[in-house]
Symmetry: C2
Subunit: 482 residues, 2 copies
C-alpha cells in the first residue's frame, strides 16, 4: 500500500525525547516543511488549516467587539523605529532591511515589519483629530518577520503569521479597558476553542513589550512543563502617541495625546496546541478547531461491504446535515487498523466504526481520541450522541490539560529550593519577588526559568523575594519557556 | 454636524476628469490612504472589507474544486530567480532585496516575493515523487511586492494582496484543464459576484506571464473605456518543473516532469469594481459583496419618531433574520437627506425609507442605488420584496456594465482606422493580427493600446493584420489599459 508506506516513520515517545516527539509529530502529520530560507517554514495545508480555524474564531470575536480589519504596509522606514526609544532597542537587533529595489539603492532603508505600532502610529496621527474619531479599533492579519537566531517550527520562526490589533482611545481608563477586554478574549478563546488552560497576568517590566507601559499575557503549559506565551495585550499609554503625535481635541476643546493599545496572537498557537494536547500516537485536535471532527470507517468482510458502505454513507450524510465536519473513509485496499492509526495520528476527535454486526444490532462504535473510550451508540439516536461525544472531547481535553498544569505547578520560598526543584521537575513555579530586575535576572541565570507573569489570581501568595529575601510585593510565576 | 463636515468634499464628475473622479471617490468613501512608503497604500476598513468579501467568495470556490490553502515564505533566495530564464527577465527589474538582517550582511540577497512560482517549484520538487502525489492543488493568500514606477491606488501599488494558486499535474491535458477551470471560476466570480462582464481569452506571447507557455486572462472595461486585466491563469508547461526538477514516477514507472499551472487575482479587483460601477454620487457596490446591502432610514417629524423607529427596528430585525446585511441608521441630529447622500456615496445597493405616512399605508419606500427607482413595498410582503430588489440590483449593475462594454466596443481593419478611432473614443477594439510581435509593438507605440487578449468568442472575426495587412490569423482585442 503506497499510502501505508508514507507514514511508516515512527513517533519518538514523549517520555524519551519531547523535542524529538514534537518534530516527529508535525512532520508525520504533514503540518509544515522547512523552507530554503533560514528560520522560515512552509505552512502545509494541514497546518495552515489550523490557522484558518484560529482566524475564523478570533475574527468573529474581534468583530463582535467592534473591531474592523485593515491592511498596513509590510515596509516601515527605518526612521520610524527611532521615534520610540524602548521600541527601537527592543526590535532593532531582529530587523531585516530592504536596501535596494528596482535595481537601485534606496535612500532610506526599509525594515520588514516585526510589528506595526509605528506604522499605525503614523497613520493614526493623520486620521484622528477629534474625540469623535475615538475609539479607533483596527486589527490586521499579516505576516511579520523577526530575524531569530534559534528557531523551532511554529513556536519561533523568522517569518510568522499573526494578528495585531491597534487601538486609540480618549483616556487611560478606556485604553486599559480595551487592553483587558482583549486579554479576556484571548483567555476565553484559548480555553473554549483550543481547550488550553492559561494563566492570565501581567508581565514584569523586563519582560514587557518594547514601548509598552504594561504588558499582559496568557501563559500555557506544554507537556514538558515549559511555558508558551500564547497571547499578549499591551497598554501603551501615550508612548507611541507622543512619538507619532497622535493627538485629538477632547470634549473640552483641549489638545490631548491618545492612549493606545496593541494585542496579538500568532501561528505559535499551532505549536502550543500540539505540545499541550498531543500524545505518543500523534496529534490530538480540539473539536472546535479540527478540520475533521469525526471520521467514519466501515469494517467487516469484503463480501458484506456494500451494505456496510451504504449505511456508513447514510450516517455520513446525517452528520453532515447536522453541521458536523465529518469524513467517510471507505477506501478499499487499506486495512481498518491502518486507518485507525492514521486518523489517530492526525488527531481527529472522534472515530466511528461500523460493521455488519453493528448494523444488525442497530448501533455503531464511537471512539474518543482523547480517552480511547469505545461507546456503542444506537443508530436511532446517532446524531445527537455523536455530537455530544464530540463536545465531550473538548471538555476532556481541557480537563486533562488543566489537571496536568495543576500537577506541574509548584511554589518555592528561595532560589535554592527552585534550583533543586528544577533538578527533578519542570513546570510553573510560584515565588515571591521584590520587584528588582537584578533578582529576576539571577533566577534566569541560575535556573534557566524566566518570569512568565504576575498572575491576577495566584494559586498561592508569597511575601518574600525568592532571591534577596526582602519583602516580596508580588507573586510571580516562573518557568522555562519556549 | 461633525459627521457632515468630514464628507463635505465634492466628487469631481466622471465626464470632467475620470482619474480625479476615481481618486475623489476612494478618498471620500474612506477606502484607502497613502502610506509613507513609495507606492504603498493602507487598505482602510471600508476598503479592506471589499477584499474580505472577495476572499470569502473565491476561497469557497477554490475549496469546492479541491484546492487547499497553505503559506509559503515571503523571502525568495536570489538564485531561485536565475533558474527560469524568462521569469528572471520579467521580474528582476521589479524586485526589492533584503541585504542585511539582524545587524549583519546576508550571504545571499533575499528577494521579496513578486509571485511564488519559484518557491512552490522548490518545495513541490521535494514533495512530489509519484503520480499518486498528483495533482497537487495549493492556493495561497498573501502579500506580494513589485517595485512599480507609476502607481495608482488598488490598481497598481508596490505592495498588494492577492491569491496565487499553484498546481502540479501528470500531463499537459490535466494541467490545461486546471488552467481553464480556474479561468472559468474567475469569469463566473467576476460576473456573478462583482457584476463585471469580462472578455475571456488568451494573451499574446509578448503579454504573457514571464515563464508561462500560455497565459489566459479576463479583461474588464472601466467607464473611461480603458481595460483592467482582472485575473490570469497560466499553463506553465514543464518550464518551472525543469528549472526546479519537479519530477515524478508515472504509471509506467518512468520519471517525468510535472506540468504546472498558476493563477491569481489581486486587490486590483477593488479598483476595477469602483471604476466599472461607480458614478458621480460615489460608489455603487454589487450586493453580493457589499458589507451593507440595505440601509433603513426613518423619516418624518421628530414628535412621531418613537413609532417610526420602533417599526424601523422591527423591519431591521426581520431582514437580519432573513440573512440580509442590513443597517439601521436612526441617529438623531442628522437629516435624512444627508444620510441618503452618505449611503449613496458609500454604494449601499438598497435604501429603505420609512415614515409615519408609510406606516399608515402599510408600506415602506425602497430605493435602488443603481437605477434610482423608488418602489412602495407593502409591509406584509416586505422581506421577500426587499430581497428580490437586492438581487435585481446585481442584475441591473451587470446589464448596465455589459451594455456599456458593448457600446464601447469597436472593430477596425487598419492601424490608421484605430488611430482616428482613439482620437474620439475609448474602448475595446477588435482587429486582425498576423502574430508578429513587431506589429503588436507598433500598435502600442502609435495608439497607446496594448493587446488585451485573443478572445475565445470574438464579437467579430478579422482576417487581415491591422498593421502589415498580411494574413491575420487571430482576432485580438486591443485597448488602453491600467
Amino acid at each position: 500500500m503506497a499510502q501505508e508506506k508514507t507514514v511508516s516513520k515512527e513517533i519518538t515517545p514523549q517520555s524519551e525525547d519531547f523535542s524529538r516527539w514534537y518534530l516527529d509529530v508535525i512532520k508525520k502529520a504533514d503540518l509544515m516543511d522547512y523552507a530554503p530560507v533560514r528560520g522560515c517554514i512552509v505552512f502545509k495545508p494541514d497546518g495552515y488549516a489550523l490557522w484558518e480555524g484560529i482566524q475564523q474564531e478570533l475574527d468573529r470575536r474581534f468583530k463582535e467587539t467592534g473591531h474592523r480589519n485593515a491592511y498596513f504596509p509590510l515596509f516601515i522606514p527605518e526612521s520610524f523605529f527611532q521615534k520610540e526609544k524602548e521600541h527601537v532597542e527592543g526590535f532593532n537587533p531582529e530587523l531585516p532591511f530592504v536596501t535596494e529595489a528596482g535595481g537601485e539603492q534606496l535612500e532610506e532603508k526599509l525594515a520588514i515589519r516585526p510589528t506595526s505600532e509605528t506604522m499605525f502610529g503614523h497613520m493614526y496621527a493623520k486620521w484622528i483629530q477629534s474625540y469623535r474619531d475615538l475609539p479607533m479599533l483596527i486589527n490586521q492579519w499579516a505576516n511579520v518577520v523577526r530575524w531569530e537566531k534559534r528557531t523551532l517550527p511554529f513556536l519561533r520562526t523568522s517569518e510568522f503569521l499573526w494578528q495585531e490589533g491597534h487601538t486609540a482611545h480618549e483616556d487611560e481608563v478606556d485604553a486599559r479597558k480595551e487592553t483587558m477586554q482583549m486579554l479576556e478574549i484571548y483567555r476565553e478563546f484559548s480555553e473554549n476553542v483550543l481547550a488550553i488552560p492559561v494563566i492570565t497576568g501581567q508581565k514584569t517590566p523586563s519582560e514587557k513589550f518594547a514601548g509598552a507601559v504594561d504588558t499582559f499575557s496568557i501563559e500555557a503549559m506544554m507537556q514538558d512543563g515549559r511555558a508558551v506565551q500564547a497571547g499578549t495585550s499591551h497598554y501603551l499609554g501615550t508612548n507611541f502617541a507622543k512619538a507619532f503625535e497622535i493627538q485629538f481635541t477632547d470634549r473640552e476643546n483641549q489638545l490631548q495625546f491618545c492612549h493606545t493599545t496593541s494585542w496579538g496572537v500568532s501561528t505559535r498557537l499551532i505549536g502550543a496546541l500540539i505540545m499541550v494536547h498531543g500524545d505518543d500516537r500523534g496529534l490530538v485536535l480540539p473539536p472546535k478547531l479540527a478540520p475533521t471532527q469525526a471520521v467514519i470507517i466501515p469494517i467487516g468482510p469484503a463480501k458484506l461491504r456494500e451494505t456496510v458502505n451504504a449505511k456508513a454513507e447514510e450516517l455520513y450524510n446525517e452528520l453532515r446535515k447536522a453541521g458536523v465536519r465529518v469524513k467517510l473513509d471507505d477506501r478499499e485496499g487499506i486495512t481498518p487498523g491502518w486507518k485507525f492509526n492514521e486518523y489517530e495520528m492526525r488527531g481527529v476527535p472522534v472515530r466511528i466504526e461500523i460493521g455488519p454486526r453493528d448494523i444488525e444490532n442497530g448501533q455503531a462504535i464511537v471512539v474518543s481520541r482523547i480517552t480511547g473510550a469505545k461507546v456503542s451508540v444506537p443508530l436511532d439516536d446517532f446524531v445527537d450522541q455523536v455530537q455530544s461525544m464530540i463536545a465531550n472531547v473538548h471538555t476532556e481535553m481541557f480537563n486533562k490539560a488543566l489537571a496536568f498544569q495543576q500537577e506541574q505547578t509548584y511554589d518555592v520560598d528561595s532560589l535554592d529550593q527552585m534550583k533543586s526543584l528544577f533538578e527533578q521537575k519542570r513546570g510553573f513555579v510560584y515565588a515571591g519577588w521584590c520587584g528588582s530586575a537584578d533578582c529576576e535576572k539571577q533566577v534566569k541565570e541560575e535556573t534557566g526559568a524566566t518570569s512568565r507573569n504576575i498572575p491576577f489570581e495566584p494559586k498561592v501568595k508569597k511575601n518574600k523575594c525568592l532571591v534577596c529575601g526582602e519583602h516580596g510585593e508580588q507573586t510571580v510565576v516562573f518557568a522555562r519557556a519556549y
